[in-house]
């Protein structure tokens, strides 16, 4: 992944770092790796989403560690130099610049431990369908709801999770969220 970072054009790298910083500052729920990857690929760079995700994770870890240890810009650059010697010059420049501008503002979270497995709900798409017929039954006429949840995982990557619900399942799902809303109101 350290090698792949040299493939990313400077302005895309700056954008990635920006998103990472915003995520660490709780301004955005997650980093839109898929969208960014697509644009980078369109610009002619051969990088896949797995590599980009690894790079995002590494940079995220770098910035949050730096925040926790209250590193100054010089200290951060020194750390970079000693650790990953193959980091290209333009990458160091971007990281240095981003940290200089926004590093002080990051509030360090102490609950990083138990947040490890919980993702953030970002958005939801849905469609309502009726399965008319199948190879085992000509007259199926089965209505169902397909839901796609946009989720930001703990590291900040945004992914889609899709699943199907029968009408009774959907009604229960709806009911549960109504209950959640009323509990949240009274707490």
């Amino acid at each position: 992944a350290a090698d792949k970072i040299r493939l990313i054009p400077q302005d895309f790298l700056a954008e990635l770092c920006e998103q990472i910083m915003q995520h660490l500052n709780h301004k955005i729920p997650g980093i839109n790796t898929a969208e960014l990857c697509q644009r980078i690929q369109t610009s002619g760079v051969d990088i896949n989403i797995g590599d980009l995700a690894k790079i995002a994770n590494t940079l995220s870890f770098l910035f949050s560690t730096a925040a926790r240890n209250n590193l100054s810009t010089e200290e951060l650059v020194t750390t970079l130099g000693s650790g990953v010697s193959t980091l290209p010059k333009h990458a160091v420049q971007v990281i240095r610049h981003v940290w200089n501008e926004q590093g002080k503002a990051i509030a360090v979270s102490e609950d990083a431990g138990n947040m490890a497995t919980v993702g953030q709900f970002v958005d939801m798409k849905w469609k309502l369908g009726v399965a008319m017929s199948s190879d085992t039954c000509r007259s199926l006429k089965y209505p169902y709801v397909t839901v796609t949840l946009k989720v930001a995982d703990p590291s900040g990557q945004i992914t889609d999770k899709s699943f199907e619900m029968t009408i009774p399942q959907f009604k229960n799902f709806f009911r549960q969220f109504k209950e959640m809303a009323s509990v949240l109101e009274t707490v």
Binding site: H26, A107, S109, E110, D111, T117, V118, G119, Q120, F121, D123, M124, W126, L128, V130, A131, S134, D135, T136, C137, R138, S139, L140, K141, Y142, P143, Y144, V145, T146, L149, V151, K161, S162, F163, E164, M165, I167, Q169, F170, N172, F173, F174, Q176, F177, K178, M180, A181, V183, L184, E185, V187
Partner: protein
């Protein structure tokens, strides 16, 4: 082909036969074999005769289930079968009709689940936490809902999705769910 005797006993055997066929064909019960059915229900019948009976009843049940026949369609269908050469007797038609009335929903549900091969929502649970960490000034003492969803396909290991929703996100979700419900109402009105 000789039809089984149209007495109460015959009805019971036929009813049980239909149950057995349904178990094997729609509910995936592989233990219900032809031999088992014959031994249990028609021990006196010669094998070829039983085979023919089973095949005929199986075929009828298959047609009825595939079309998910309502009572009108069923009556028309069975009446036609009684008039056919090598068809069924009126008593057999009565037994089949009664069986379908009692098992239609169950069998249809089984067929529906056979055609669901994307991730389904198997289970869902949630709790509300009070976030008390000073992570960001405006997040002191905010209640959040933690929702765990079990997603899975038939016969595969489940994936657990654990998500956090604050009050705003829950509202967002509720709005979308209302939209779905509205669409569903329109759908059921139209069909």
């Amino acid at each position: 082909m000789a039809a089984p005797e149209p007495q109460p006993e015959g009805s019971r055997s036929l009813s049980a036969l239909l149950s057995g066929i349904a178990q094997a064909a729609f509910h995936g019960n592989a233990d219900i074999t032809e031999e088992l059915l014959r031994d249990q229900l028609y021990p006196e019948a010669p094998p070829e005769e039983f085979r023919a009976l089973r095949a005929k009843m199986g075929g009828l049940l298959q047609s009825i289930a595939s079309a998910d026949m309502d009572l009108n369609q069923l009556e028309a269908f069975l009446t036609a079968q009684t008039k056919k050469q090598g068809g069924i007797t009126p008593d057999q038609a009565a037994v089949i009709a009664k069986f379908w009335k009692n098992h239609r929903t169950q069998i249809h549900e089984s067929l529906v689940s056979q055609s669901r091969w994307d991730h389904g929502l198997k289970n869902m649970s949630w709790r509300v936490d009070l976030k008390s960490q000073l992570r960001h000034i405006d997040q002191i003492n905010t209640p959040v809902a933690i929702v765990e969803m079990e997603l899975g396909k038939n016969g595969q290991e489940s994936e657990f999705l654990c998500l956090e929703f604050d009050e705003a996100k829950v509202s967002q979700m509720l709005k979308k769910l209302s939209e779905i419900e509205e669409s569903m109402t329109l759908l059921t009105q139209a069909t």
